[in-house]
C-alpha cells in the first residue's frame, strides 16, 4: 500500500486553477508511490508540468511524442524486465492521445501483454491545443472543430468505448473512475498497478476551461456526470463488468446546463429532440451497466 500522504506532484505547475487533470495526476501518484516510472503523452498534463527546467514530477518521468506513450512504455517494461528491476511502468495520457492518435501503439502494447498500467485522463477533447474534438468527445458537445452553429448541434458521434476495446485485447483489468470519487479512483489505480499485464483506468476529468464552467465546480460537475448516467464508474475483470457505481439518476439536463459546451441545447431555443437523444444515451448506459438504484414504492 503506497503512503497516501506523500505528494509526488509538486505545486508550482502551470495547470489552470481548478484543473481536473492536475488532480488526477496527484491522486494517481499517491496510488503509485515513488517506485514508478511515468510515461506521458504530449498534452495538457505534459505541458503544464514540464516547461524546462521546471518539472513537477518527483518520480522518473518521460515524454516522447503525442502518439507513442504505449510503445515507449513497452520498451521501458522490457528493459526493466531484463535488468531485474521492479519499478511500475505507468502511462498517463489524455483522451486524444489514447482514443485517436495513439490507437496503433496502445493496441500493440495491449496485444503483446506488457505489464504496464495505462491511465487515460479523459477531459473529452484536445484541450492543450484549444479544445478540439476527439474520439472521446460526447454527443452534441461543442468544440472548436465540432462547433455548434445554425447547421450543427456540435459533435455528431457518441464516445468511443475505449474500455471495451482494451478488454477485447484481453486486458485483465479495465476500469473507469472519476475525480469526483477520489478514494474509488485510488483503489482502482492500485488494483490496476497490482494486476499483472496491461491494465487500463479511464479517469473522467472535467475541464473548466474547455467545457466552460467555473473552476470551483470541477468536482461537482464530475459528480453530476455520474449521477445522470452520462459517465459510469465501473470495473471489468477479465472482460466482464463486475462492479458499477449505482446512482439515483438525475435527468441529463442537470448536467448539460452547467457547461458552455452544451449551451446551444438551451439557448437561443431549447432543443428537446437533442436533449432526449442524450437522455437516451444515459438510459442505455444505465441499462447496460445496471446503475439505477431501485427505490421501492411505499404502499
Amino acid at each position: 500500500m503506497a503512503d497516501k500522504s506523500c505528494e509526488l506532484f509538486d505545486a508550482g505547475h502551470r495547470a489552470c486553477g481548478g484543473c481536473g487533470a492536475a488532480l488526477a495526476a496527484r491522486l494517481m501518484l499517491k496510488a503509485a508511490g515513488p517506485e514508478s516510472i511515468v510515461v506521458s503523452s504530449t498534452g495538457c498534463m505534459e505541458v503544464f508540468s514540464t516547461p524546462y527546467p521546471e518539472t513537477a514530477w518527483k518520480v522518473p518521468w518521460i515524454h516522447s511524442l503525442f502518439e507513442n506513450a504505449s510503445a515507449v512504455a513497452s520498451g521501458i517494461e522490457s528493459s526493466l524486465k531484463k535488468q531485474g528491476r521492479k519499478e511500475k511502468v505507468i502511462v498517463m495520457a489524455g483522451d486524444g492521445a489514447t482514443f485517436d492518435i495513439g490507437m496503433l501503439c496502445i493496441s500493440g502494447a495491449f496485444e503483446r501483454g506488457h505489464d504496464i498500467t495505462y491511465i487515460c485522463y479523459d477531459n473529452e477533447a484536445y484541450m492543450n491545443t484549444g479544445i478540439q474534438r476527439s474520439g472521446a468527445t460526447p454527443y452534441d458537445a461543442s468544440t472548436t472543430t465540432s462547433p455548434a452553429g445554425s447547421q450543427s448541434f456540435g459533435n455528431k458521434r457518441p464516445k468511443k468505448d475505449m474500455p471495451a476495446i482494451l478488454a477485447a485485447h484481453g486486458s485483465p483489468y479495465v476500469a473507469t473512475a472519476s475525480i469526483a470519487y477520489p478514494n474509488d479512483l485510488l483503489q482502482k489505480v492500485e488494483k490496476a498497478l497490482n494486476t499483472v499485464g496491461p491494465t487500463y483506468v479511464q479517469i473522467h476529468v472535467p475541464c473548466c476551461t474547455g467545457w466552460g464552467f467555473e473552476g470551483e465546480q470541477t468536482i461537482a460537475i464530475a459528480k453530476l456526470a455520474i449521477e445522470t448516467g452520462l459517465w459510469v464508474n465501473y470495473e471489468m475483470v477479465d472482460g466482464k463488468v463486475t462492479k458499477a457505481k449505482k446512482v439515483v439518476r438525475k435527468p441529463v439536463e442537470e448536467y448539460l446546463k452547467t457547461q458552455k459546451r452544451f449551451r446551444h441545447l438551451f439557448k437561443p431555443k431549447r432543443q428537446d429532440a437533442e436533449i432526449e437523444a442524450i437522455q437516451a444515451l444515459a438510459d442505455k448506459n444505465a441499462e447496460k451497466y445496471g446503475i439505477d438504484i431501485k427505490i421501492a414504492k411505499k404502499e
Partner: protein, 86 residues
Amino acid sequence: MALAIGCRARPGKARDNKTGSWRVFKPIFDHGKCSRCGTCQIICPEGCITEDTEGFFDPDYAYCKGCGMCATECPKDAIAMKQEEK
C-alpha cells in the same frame, strides 16, 4: 546553470514558480467550523493544503491559485472565498 543534455531535469524547480500570484479570490479556512474530514486536502489540484498537528487544514498561499474547489466541496462550509486585496 548549464543546459541539461537532452532537455532533462531533476525535480524541484517547479516550486520556483509561485502560482499564488495567479489568485483573484483567496480561500479563508475557519477551523472553528472544520470537521477535519480532509476532503480539501484530497481534492486540491495543487496539493498545497496541509494538515497541522491538531488535524486542521491550511493552504500554502504561495501556490494556492484560488480556484475555490475546496470551498465548494467542504461539507461544513468552513472555507470562504474572499476577493484578495492587492
